[in-house]
């Protein structure tokens, strides 16, 4: 098989080299040194770990400076990219060589997608660092928290700038470890450490598929380099079967990390971690790593799943199912963070579905806008909790708009953005996804997307009304949060309001800046669809309808009272949703328990009844039929006589030889060496 790979290897190497030569000459400085953005927070991690406790602000300053530096680099890279010629910059060095002469490289790849992710990750991380100064003030493990934040930022940036799948895998695993560390930040309470374990194990399950997928691609393409793999996939140099296999396996990893059904179960539990962590990792950055992976290696998915054919494909199916199922679950949550968590799962479903229908730019754009308004919503939830007696249960909130005006306004902005109200960020990105589904001949996804939009508006409305309106039902003394918390909220409100406009029809800047372009397959373009006013109007109407329903039920309190208690069908549905579709039961009792219990019992029954039955039966037959003669004549006299005699001889010989076993090890060694000498002499003399 390796021989067959040789021509492919040679061609890939040539193509990459040529591409590198062309781009190297004109590449701006910051794009060649972008790895610094990942290295500086990594250094900060070690600094905080070693010196953090002795620093005046306990390590927070190191984290802030490092992320600030990375943010500056990211913005600079973005400016250079926007003003540049649109050629990706690919830097790499030889890392090590494996047997067979294949070089494994490490490097960076900078294009529009990379730059966008850099800006998102560093911006949100910087705001979270600032927010945490107040939110975790006096915390029991303040220093380690900032160390973990630095490590996470470094790992995520490493993942984002990676030019080959191996490096991406390293970053992927590292962010998983950081997520585990940060979810279990208050691990003294058992539910928190359980949640951290659940997150880690679930994503690990998905990672099986990821690793197998990466290996499959390596054997299919002969390289880990992403650009080469995309080129080969689009040029038809890899068989469709291999691409399908690789895409399916990678999808498993994406499902784990980006919480697609049925591996989404970890994300709501991950809310056990501190709220800034939820904002950074489980809303804006880590969970989108799966979406990023698909976007990066889109050539593989596009060809492997035959996305341009329309109808249905695994990617779109996963996204579509997830977005609806998670949105349904958001309705029955009383914990504000869990509502937002399910909302995140649902929005991730949108992104994956977008990529599944061929709307690459739409999916990536939704990733971009979602990061801002979802982080805003999470940080807002943190602000609410921080000021209202540290609870997240919405049943103990209410009427908070009087006490927390800034949080109230920014939270509304985030909600409207998420619901997809026009002009705000979410509207443009979500609408592009629906448009892509329509134009790409994916009617099922379109319907699911519209249903999801209705549900999104409805559950977010419920959330806002329960939290901020009505009378205060809690025990604390609510007040507005201090500046370090409210300033990040206000800063995030600006992009939530306006950033959608950079891709509004007529402007379309984002479309120009972030393009899926593969140097090895220059004719490949993903279609851009024109703005569809009818669809936009329809989705807006649906979103408004969702908000109206929420208003009717929760603000005006006009819903039929006690419906859940009275009507068995409604109660059944409510319980079904509250139990999260019994998925946790299925996984724990069904999969794990089923293997331990019923399967084991079943096998034991087979062993006892069937196998032992046969054996016993043969024994009984033998005993009745053949026993007497065999016993008396053959056994007692003949065989036993011979055996007894043999045993006696052996016993006597053993007794004699036993004297050699003195128990004295050096005696044994003596015999050993003597035998070696004798044997060696014999061999030497006979040759």
């Amino acid at each position: 098989m390796l021989a067959a790979l040789q021509p492919i290897l040679a061609e890939a190497a040539e193509a990459t080299e040529h591409a590198e030569e062309v781009h190297h000459a004109a590449a701006p400085f910051v794009h060649r040194w972008v790895w610094l953005a990942a290295a500086i927070p990594a250094i900060s991690f070690f600094v905080i770990l070693l010196f953090g406790k002795r620093l005046p602000r306990k390590g927070a300053e190191s984290g802030l400076i490092a992320v600030g530096f990375a943010w500056v680099l990211a913005v600079w890279a973005a400016i250079e990219w926007i003003g540049g010629d649109g050629h990706a910059v690919h830097e790499s060095v030889r890392w090590f060589t494996i047997g067979g002469g294949k070089d494994i490289e490490a490097g960076t790849f900078v294009d529009g997608l990379t730059v966008m992710m850099l800006v998102v990750v560093t911006s949100i991380s910087l705001l979270v660092h600032v927010y945490s100064l107040e939110y975790l003030r006096g915390d029991r493990r303040y220093t380690y928290y900032y160390a973990a934040l630095s490590l996470f930022t470094a790992s995520m940036l490493l993942l984002v700038v990676a030019d080959n799948l191996l490096q991406l895998l390293v970053g992927w695993e590292l962010v998983g470890v950081c997520s585990f560390m940060l979810i279990g930040h208050w691990w003294e309470e058992r539910p928190n450490s359980n949640a951290a374990l659940k997150a880690f194990l679930t994503t690990r399950t998905g990672d099986i598929g990821l690793i197998l997928g990466v290996v499959t691609l390596f054997f299919a393409a002969g390289t880990f380099d992403i650009e080469s793999i995309n080129g080969m996939a689009l040029n038809g140099e890899i068989t469709h079967l291999m691409l399908l296999a690789a895409a399916s396996l990678l999808l498993l990893g994406v499902a784990g990390k980006s919480a697609q059904f049925p591996l989404h179960i970890w994300l709501p539990d991950a809310m056990a971690g501190p709220t800034p962590v939820s904002a950074l990792i489980h809303a804006a950055t880590m969970v989108v790593a799966g979406v990023y992976l698909v976007a990066r290696t889109y050539g593989v998915f596009f060809e492997g799943f035959s996305i341009e054919d329309g109808g249905i494909n695994p990617l779109a199916l996963a996204g579509g199912v997830t977005l609806v199922i998670a949105a349904a679950l958001a309705f029955v949550q009383n914990d504000i963070k869990k509502v937002l968590a399910y909302s995140t799962v649902s929005q991730l479903g949108y992104m994956v579905a977008a990529l599944g229908v061929g709307a690459w730019t739409a999916g990536v754009f939704h990733l971009f806008t979602h990061a801002f308004f979802k982080a805003l919503l999470f940080l807002g939830a943190g602000s609410v909790s921080h000021a209202a007696h540290h609870t997240f249960d919405m049943r103990e909130m209410g009427g908070l708009r009087k006490y927390m005006p800034r949080t109230f306004v920014t939270f509304w902005i985030g909600t409207l953005a998420l619901a997809g109200i026009p002009v705000l960020a979410g509207f443009w990105s979500k609408d592009e996804i629906l448009n892509g589904a329509l134009e790409g001949d994916y009617q099922t996804i379109l319907v699911l997307g519209l249903v999801g939009a209705f549900m999104t508006a409805a559950y977010m409305g419920r959330c806002v009304y329960m939290t901020f309106y009505g009378e205060y039902r809690g025990h604390g003394h609510p007040h507005e949060s201090p500046g370090l918390i409210t300033w990040p909220l206000m800063i995030l409100a600006v992009p939530s309001l306006l950033i959608g406009l950079i891709n509004a029809p007529g402007i379309l800047w984002f479309n120009d800046w972030v393009v899926f372009h593969v140097a090895g397959a220059p004719e490949f373009h993903l279609e851009h669809h024109d703005f569809n006013v009818v669809l936009a109007g329809l989705s807006t109407l649906i979103a408004v309808a969702g908000l109206a329903v929420a208003t009717w039920i929760y603000y005006l309190q006009r819903a039929p009272k006690g419906l859940i208690q009275r009507n068995p069908a409604v109660r059944g549905l409510h319980t079904f949703l509250e139990q999260k579709y019994y998925l946790d039961h299925i996984f724990v009792t069904g999969v794990a328990g089923g293997t331990a219990g019923p399967v084991a019992r079943g096998v034991y029954w087979i062993n006892q009844r069937v196998i032992d039955g046969v054996v016993n039966g043969v024994g009984v037959v033998t005993q009745r039929a053949f026993a007497p003669f065999t016993y008396d004549v053959l056994d007692q006299r003949g065989v036993d006589g011979a055996y007894n005699g043999l045993a006696a001889v052996t016993g006597a010989a053993g007794g004699a030889l036993r004297k050699i076993q003195t128990g004295f090890v050096q005696r044994y060694a003596l015999f050993l060496f003597a035998a070696v000498v004798a044997g060696g002499a014999v061999l030497a003399l006979t040759n």
């Binding site: 036993r658 076993q661 003195t662 128990g663 004295f664 090890v665 050096q666 060694a669 003596l670 060496f673």
Partner: protein
């Protein structure tokens, strides 16, 4: 220089080590003799490495040194245990496997 001069030196060391392993009573002295044998092997490896200009021999010698270090560590732990249980470091008191 002759190849044999190194090899015969190694053989001499090895034989002396063999004598030590077989004839010495104190456990630590036996360990020392084992070290003699290992060094003899190392001399062989490095001599051949130099003779045929192949670095592998030296790499192997390094591995042998490492493994010898590990072996002495564990061996001394065992000697300590014997000493604790038998109140004497002499190996001829250890004959639990007799018969």
């Amino acid at each position: 220089m002759y190849v044999n001069q190194y090899l015969i030196l190694a053989a001499a060391l090895f034989s002396i080590g063999v004598y030590g392993v077989l004839a010495r009573r104190h456990a630590v002295l036996v360990l020392m003799s084992v070290e003699l044998m290992l060094n003899a092997v190392n001399i062989n490896l490095v001599a051949f490495s130099s003779a045929i200009q192949d670095v592998s021999g030296q790499v192997f010698a390094l591995f042998v040194i490492t493994i010898a270090a590990a072996e002495v560590g564990v061996g001394l732990a065992i000697v300590l245990l014997i000493y604790r249980n038998m109140a004497s470091p002499n190996l001829d008191r250890v004959h639990e496997m007799k018969g």
